[in-house]
């Protein structure tokens, strides 16, 4: 069977998807990266092989903040930024989409689309206050499984007011509200409202959010956040079936133009790959240089501003 591989290495999760020529997802995986993107990819690859048998890969697309890393070890035909990948995927699934709200583990995006073309976007990367990591941390602190968080929020009668500008302030605010006697449901709902407010403050200033709005990324799993958005904006938020892997699907869709793939083959999952790093001391910039090793051989290096180390491994 012929198929296209899409890989989205995010800061918190690694997504791998296999699609056919028409863009239909044949197989997918969504796993925590646990700070070890190579391991995450290797285990996804073995699972894919077990689940799908022999497949002929015709094209590979990578995206996410680790897209270059994924390219180095897998061999990609298309290495694409997350904005474009998410947009391509959303347009493929819902052609008349006008707004994409995407919230992942450590960053969030707002993409405006008119007539099937991206016309504006914004993205936060510096502050993770409005993202999945923040929710997960707070869920853990409250002793609630992250999957359950949304249901608590939906059960609230009067959401507590919580500052969402900064995770540290939000946390002290939540502790204060607990001590005042607010119940867990109201606090969780307040937390969802705070995240939504933070998202809108950071990303949507001056941008027109118009229907249809698609809500994707890992946080779209949380019905409490969806409800907060809908309450705040008075608009329906559509959560597509493939919401957590939309970026990976986008990368795979983009790789369909490939004539001769650079895919390195399935042996990746058996290789002894490791990463290491060092600080270059040749100039005062002291760049942290990352390298991927296949046993004793360095197969890729990056992180240097001048490109000297990167070139040496080519």
């Amino acid at each position: 069977m012929e198929a296209y591989l899409g890989i989205d290495v995010g800061s918190v999760t690694t997504k791998v998807v296999l699609i056919d020529r028409h863009g239909t997802a044949l197989w997918s995986s969504y796993k925590k990266t646990m700070g070890q993107p190579i391991k995450a990819l290797q285990s996804a690859f073995s699972a894919l092989r077990r689940g799908m048998g022999d497949i002929e890969i015709r094209g590979v697309g990578t995206t996410g903040s680790g897209r270059k890393l994924a390219d180095y070890i897998v061999g990609a035909d298309e290495v694409k930024n997350e904005i474009t990948a998410h947009a391509v995927s959303a347009i493929h699934h819902i052609p008349n989409v006008r707004t994409i709200v995407e919230i992942g583990g450590q960053d969030s995006k707002l993409i405006l689309i008119r007539n099937g073309v991206v016309v504006d976007f914004s993205m936060n990367t510096v502050c993770a206050a409005g993202t999945g990591s923040f929710l997960e941390h707070q869920a853990a602190r409250l002793g609630i499984a992250i999957e359950e968080l949304g249901n608590y929020a939906l059960a609230a009668s009067s959401p507590a007011r919580i500052a969402g500008r900064c995770t540290v302030f939000a946390e002290s605010d939540m502790i204060h509200k607990q001590q005042m006697g607010h119940n867990l449901e109201d606090i969780v709902a307040g937390l969802c409202d705070a995240l939504v407010r933070n998202y809108l403050n950071n990303l949507s200033r001056g941008k027109e959010i118009s229907d249809p709005v698609i809500f994707q990324g890992g946080v779209a799993a949380n019905p409490g956040i969806k409800a907060s958005f809908e309450r705040e904006l008075g608009k329906e938020f559509i959560v597509p079936h493939y919401y957590p892997i939309m970026g990976a699907i986008g990368a795979a869709l983009l790789s369909r133009n490939t004539t001769q793939t650079r895919f390195r083959g399935w042996s990746l999952s058996e290789k002894q790959l490791s990463t290491s790093s060092f600080y270059c001391s040749d100039c005062p910039n002291a760049c942290g240089v990352m390298q991927i090793n296949d046993c004793d051989e360095v197969i890729a290096r990056w992180g240097d501003t001048c490109g000297k180390w990167g070139r040496m491994s080519e």
Binding site: S65, M123, V126
Partner: protein, 316 residues
Amino acid sequence: MKNLRIGIPRALLYYSYAESWKLSFSELGLDVITSPETHANILREGIKHAVGDLCLPVKTFLGHAALLKDSVDLLFIPRYVSVEKESFMCPKMIGLPDVVRACFTNLPGIIDPLFHVKQFGDNAVREFTKPIAKAISQHHPDVYTLFKRNMNTAVEIPAEQNRVSARLLSEVGILSSHRKMNIGIVGRPYLLFDRHLSKNLFKYIKDLGANPIYLKPEEPDMREAMAVIPKWVYWDMGKEVVTSAHLFFKDDRVDGVINVCSSTCGPDSFTGDLIRKRLNQRNKPYMALSIDEHASDVGIQTRIEAFMDMIARVTA
């Protein structure tokens, strides 16, 4: 006798006026010592000495001052208040000499002459050079003459950055010769041309196959741009930023505009809004790219790549 060594930090107004300062001081017989281009250690040192509320470019300045302070007799930190009748520098710039004094001990002498056109009008350079003459023990008329003569010396900009004048943009047609994607870059010189702070943005855009353009607007252009917006921009540099954006928006050969700003810059938050709401009437692809001390190269590269993808699809 050994020459006096005067240190000029390579940050902030260095990127606008340093050539004239350097030229004048060397003609007066001083040894001019400038700090190197910003690198990671300079920035780290600046952040260490700064209070948190200062913006990234001021923190960078402190790093450069720290590097120079022990190897010079004098530090040159002019206090620019206004370079035109009705304009002002940002308060952090106006207070720069005081910020440096507050952040360090064991400083060499600081020359902090006042440049204030609003107050002194045509005598601004004369007033500016008085404390300089005193600090280096030379005759004021000589110092004044040199500074006056060198005032308009152009600042050297790293080679990979296309710097064109507004006249060139409209008359010579540098943009139309090859049909690469043309991206207009607006922003303050001290952010754009500090390659460490701007993450080598010009080169990155070039490597991706597009043509980044920076321009220096001229007086008539500024008057034209100011007439489009509801109120005169009285922030120095802010006016140039707004004017450049205006020129880029109205020129058909420019495919998109990136406004590079420091994330906590007060004046830029005003001008950024003006650009987005009032100047981009034709809805050209526009992106505000904010630079922060924590911003990784990847975050900026992702935005630039996505922006170029957007232009490619919009113009296709």
